[in-house]
Symmetry: none
Subunit: 211 residues, 4 copies
DNA sequence: AATGAATGAGGATTCATTCAT
DNA sequence: CATGAATGAATCCTCATTCAT
């Protein structure tokens, strides 16, 4: 593992645990195993380190979501893939995703705009799947916008509590959440193996992780 | 409004917006409209200010949840009341609840234990309702513990996006979320007016707010 | 003497002796007799301290020069007053003026523009006196612009070597320099008591110093 | 051009523009077009780089002044040569001479002594010419010591404003300044072609520059 | 010869907190 | 009650310099 990776990893861990402002440059250095001056060989500003982490995480999520939904006609399948991918990403990389979810306020205005734009683009894929599903996929829900937010928050929450050492396996977790999502959307059928398969494949391609 | 309230309010706002570590004592003073030295007439430590906010918020939530569920036999009604109350509290006091949800890491170990204990006690009421509901209320869900967490995260998420200036009214919001919850729990019926009524009443009694 | 004055004085001394970049915030604090944190009760940035010193010094010089030349018809007298005032100011406040002369490079672009504008305005008074003197005051010099610069550098140099503990008294010093200036400008007469008197008066009015 | 020369040149430029303490080792490296580590193949300490520049510049000035005055009986001619040489050196090498004039404070005590000794030796030649000129060269000035300082500051100032892109040619500039000097010293005749010629010759011999 | 990597010391500035007034 | 003044400790970051490669 390169030193740069060690720095990145230290930052992800500490930013997730103690927050950006709660993490000192000395904490980062100690966690990375180098001096605080050496830190600056591998990063720009502390804030650039943060935004880099966020961008990478969101880029990957967006790429995965696009791969999982691109060319898929069935909105139910798209939605299931999105949910599964989101849940798996948050369960596998809880630190990264918590940083993305919680530390936006620490960004400068300019960078914040970029990050929020990425997130909006990502959520747009959810909106499309939900709206399509209502039109022609058997979804029934008043206030689809509210339901979308409820879904997203529910799935993102996984990063706040999931532990690989717990009793629930990842595959089962994803299946459970897709079931919840389909129920929330009033779908008659609560399963969609195709969507789950797609998510597994994308997870392997984009994150390099196999369940 | 007393100065103490002004300080409390300033802290809630800033801790919610910029995080505990991102908020300086001078920021607090400016927002409260007094000098940073005067601040210390109305608070102990900065951390005590934080824990006070959290405790009060959680105390109220716990009190409300107890009142809403105490003596209620039907687990479906209890669950609906809990969801509605949680959603309403988070929509009405988004700043307070975001502080509770996001700034636990800033607490000292001792205080954190107390706060987490309160939260656990609160979540215990949810667990009870769900477990009872599975046993004898028509709930069907594998992994009830996961479902509980999904529910809580979904409902807490309201504080992150709800705006009173948006198109959705509070009463409708609560109804929507209780519906989502009942769907997630596989309940045959997706409504429970009694549970909503209880929540409204408790909200008035404990929070002093009427919809 | 107020603490703010002590800070200002410390800065003037150290900036003059060791340069802006050669002076640390801790040096300033020590010289002012307070802690480096307390320093920030009495100043903004270190650079603002610098620009403040420069502005005040240049403001006074400009004010003095205007008072000494305003309404004076004879360009010879004006020039003599300017030289005398400049020399006296630099002899009496060598530290301040050396800061003005040597530390412009340490200013930010925006502030530098303001300071240079003040200096240009000041030098404009010299140009006017010299040009007028050539036209109708008996001055003869090729390249009046060069002569102006030579005069200014010669007079400013006083701040680099004059010591009140040396053998030359201030009044005599001013007289000597006005003589040199008139010679440089080819003036037939090398004295101009009126100009010197004006300078003495302005020095008393604007600087509050009497020879 | 060797790398060492490039380093030297970079240092001269940056020390002159931003001061010794305002110039970082990284600035030097960038300006020289090498890495900051490589810098240390061509220099000792940053301070040694500074003192080297000063010494070389002063050595050359001293050597030139000696050649220009050695064996010249007429103090008027000696003075004119000194003025011309000084002005030309400062106009041709404004950066070097500004470093010599402005950065003495950045030297360590020991090195400073050496540099100041060189400068004193150099100024001694001026003193001698002036004093001799008073005794038997037609110079008249009260306070010859003050006049010497005035002359030196006036001539050194050239480095602060002269631009080869300006309207005044070097030869003319030197002539103008020798004229000013002779006027300041009360010399009846304001020209001395022999002194100027000597200066030109020495400039060619010692600096390798032809006007 | 050249340089990435490394760092202890120090740069300016802000921190939360206390206290005399 | 209110606050200017004060500060030790900490903030992020850059410094000049060394060294293994």
């Amino acid at each position: 593992m390169t030193t740069e990776q060690r720095v990145r990893r230290a930052a992800v861990k500490l930013f997730a645990d103690k927050g950006f402002h709660g993490t000192g440059i000395r904490d980062l250095a100690q966690e990375a195993g180098i001096s605080s001056a050496s830190l600056y060989h591998y990063m720009g500003t502390k804030e650039e380190l943060l935004s880099g982490i966020m961008r990478e995480c969101l880029d990957r999520l967006l790429l995965g979501a696009r791969r999982a939904t691109g060319g898929v006609a069935d909105p139910r399948q798209r939605l299931v893939s999105l949910v599964a991918l989101h849940v798996l990403a948050h369960a596998l990389q809880p630190a990264e995703t918590r940083v993305v979810d919680n530390e936006v306020h620490a960004l400068s205005a300019a960078t914040r705009r970029q990050i929020v734009a990425l997130r909006d683009e990502y959520e747009q894929l959810w909106s499309a799947a939900i709206d399509d599903g209502i039109r022609r996929g058997g979804f029934t829900t008043p206030e689809p916008a509210v339901t979308r937010l409820a879904l997203l928050e529910m799935c993102s929450g996984v990063a706040r509590w999931y532990s690989p050492r717990g009793p629930v396996e990842l595959d089962r977790l994803a299946g459970h959440y897709t079931g919840l999502a389909l129920r929330m959307l009033g779908s008659a059928d609560h399963e969609c193996p195709a969507g789950l398969d797609t998510a597994r494949k994308v997870l392997s391609d984009v994150w390099g992780k196999t369940l």
